[in-house]
Assembly symmetry: C2
Homo-oligomer: 338 residues x 2
Amino acid sequence: MTPEDKRGYAVAIVGATGLVGQTVARVLEERSFPIRSLRAFGTARSTGASVRVGDVRAPVEVLDETHEPFAGIDLALFSAGDDVSRRYAQQAVRAGAFVIDKSGVYRLDDGTPLVVPEANANAIGAHRLVANPNCSTVPLAVMLAPIQREFGLAWVSLATYQSVSGAGKDALAEYEAQTNGGDVVRFLPRRVVGNVIPENGAWDDSGYGDEERKIAAELKKILGRPDLPVSATSVRVPVAVGHSEAVSFMPARPVSRDRIAQSLRRAPSVRFYDGAEYAVPLDVAGRDDDVHVGRLRPDTAHPGAFLCWLVCDNLRKGAATNAVQIAECALRTTQVPA
Amino acid sequence: MTPEDKRGYAVAIVGATGLVGQTVARVLEERSFPIRSLRAFGTARSTGASVRVGDVRAPVEVLDETHEPFAGIDLALFSAGDDVSRRYAQQAVRAGAFVIDKSGVYRLDDGTPLVVPEANANAIGAHRLVANPNCSTVPLAVMLAPIQREFGLAWVSLATYQSVSGAGKDALAEYEAQTNGGDVVRFLPRRVVGNVIPENGAWDDSGYGDEERKIAAELKKILGRPDLPVSATSVRVPVAVGHSEAVSFMPARPVSRDRIAQSLRRAPSVRFYDGAEYAVPLDVAGRDDDVHVGRLRPDTAHPGAFLCWLVCDNLRKGAATNAVQIAECALRTTQVPA
């Protein structure tokens, strides 16, 4: 990013009226991110709306390549889905913006860093396009990075309890309508209220769904462990905001529960719960940016392995906060003249 | 059981107005269990109510040892909690009844068989008191028994998505009140609507909860594998009826997914879903007695192991139907003169 004056950066939020885009605006304000000017891009159905970050307000515009939307933009935060990123992310880079992309388009691209700052901030380097991981992967990487660093990891296996907001605004509206007695099922594969749904994205031949493959592949890339055996079961649960995960992991060398607890207690962005304590989605939704890790215990199925329970606000640390943290890291690196 | 005449058995349902007790009455009727007479025992707050099985109706009575409640009873089905079973189950046996007990009191007792008929019906033998497993263990045993029999098992690990009805009538009423806008939290450890709760019963020093220990210990006993490494994470989800489980298991010897699928396809009481298909709680609640097993796939964290997704009506096969099936097995054995 290249701030043109001391008053801050020219920022564009792409997908500004989506759940993640709205949260990006909120987090930029909360963290007093230096903003000189703001552009907000959304779909046609959001025109007329506006987006505010602190004192800076922007009308929602429809993205249209004929108008050079990214001219003069220092930082572009994309969370508008794969199609929009495929079409505009590189264009924004060419226009001179530092781009943080929440879509799945670049996450596994060899030339694009996939970043959770607590795990691999240094991967940003001189890149001008950085991918922001899936909202289930972010908290997992935050928790496992210090374990990997200190002890190594032999394998990771998890089952998720993912909130409906992770599937976007329409899915959340569907959940809310069902909560109020409605029975329309359109954006989720099944009714979610009073139910749980072990389907999240397209299946591949091996029987894994898209979200499950993302979690495994992204975790390996973030931890720099392409060889790490990972398996996931992704389940949508009737929760508005807050992803939970039941995680089993095996350190690469024998280590006591106390050592793991010590590592998690001092891990950045981890709030560790001792004993059998834990957090639940309602504790964290809309509130903070920690990954709440509790119920750490030996995995009685796998001597030497551990089980734990993690909860994280999927819209904040799972998405928007992680993006803003990536921007903050870029500010601090050689990328950004002081 | 000793039917005193050809018209059937004298049956007592203890805990008759609880969720499981009510389902026992329904299942006895559906399966045309031969009943000559019925007694229904419940708490004082249920007096005035009555219970019906087919043409046979019984007023709800309060259990009171001074009135020899089990005199003349052939079959007593207990689902009234640990205290009632501790106080009355042996008394019922002494009075001549065949007792099927759903409480936790006798499940791990060395002298008492713990039975899932599909897995270990022969354990009933000449016993007059048979324990009925926990509602999370039953479907797991139904699914794993044929795998254990054909290939052996090296370990089992699972995370549950347990419905609120598994915690009883008061918890279910609490869930329904929360669904209708209420905010009282009394019978569950946290608000369950819009949330998930990784707590189910008292913790032990190792960090496991009561339900998690039950699942592991009961599964080992039912499969006759006291050495089997098992770990569980038990989570309550905002679902009324229907327990789901994300299960990982390792056969004792190398075996293909196709062989496992074949085994599950012909397993009694298993409905196997091919490819990436699956069932959800809303598909099974109140409807059938199968264990619905889907999403069978190689566990990419553990070469040679498999992941799958199972769903089962916790009040029916997880509790009442399993009890009635135990009774039917006893009818067919030498225990019961033809």
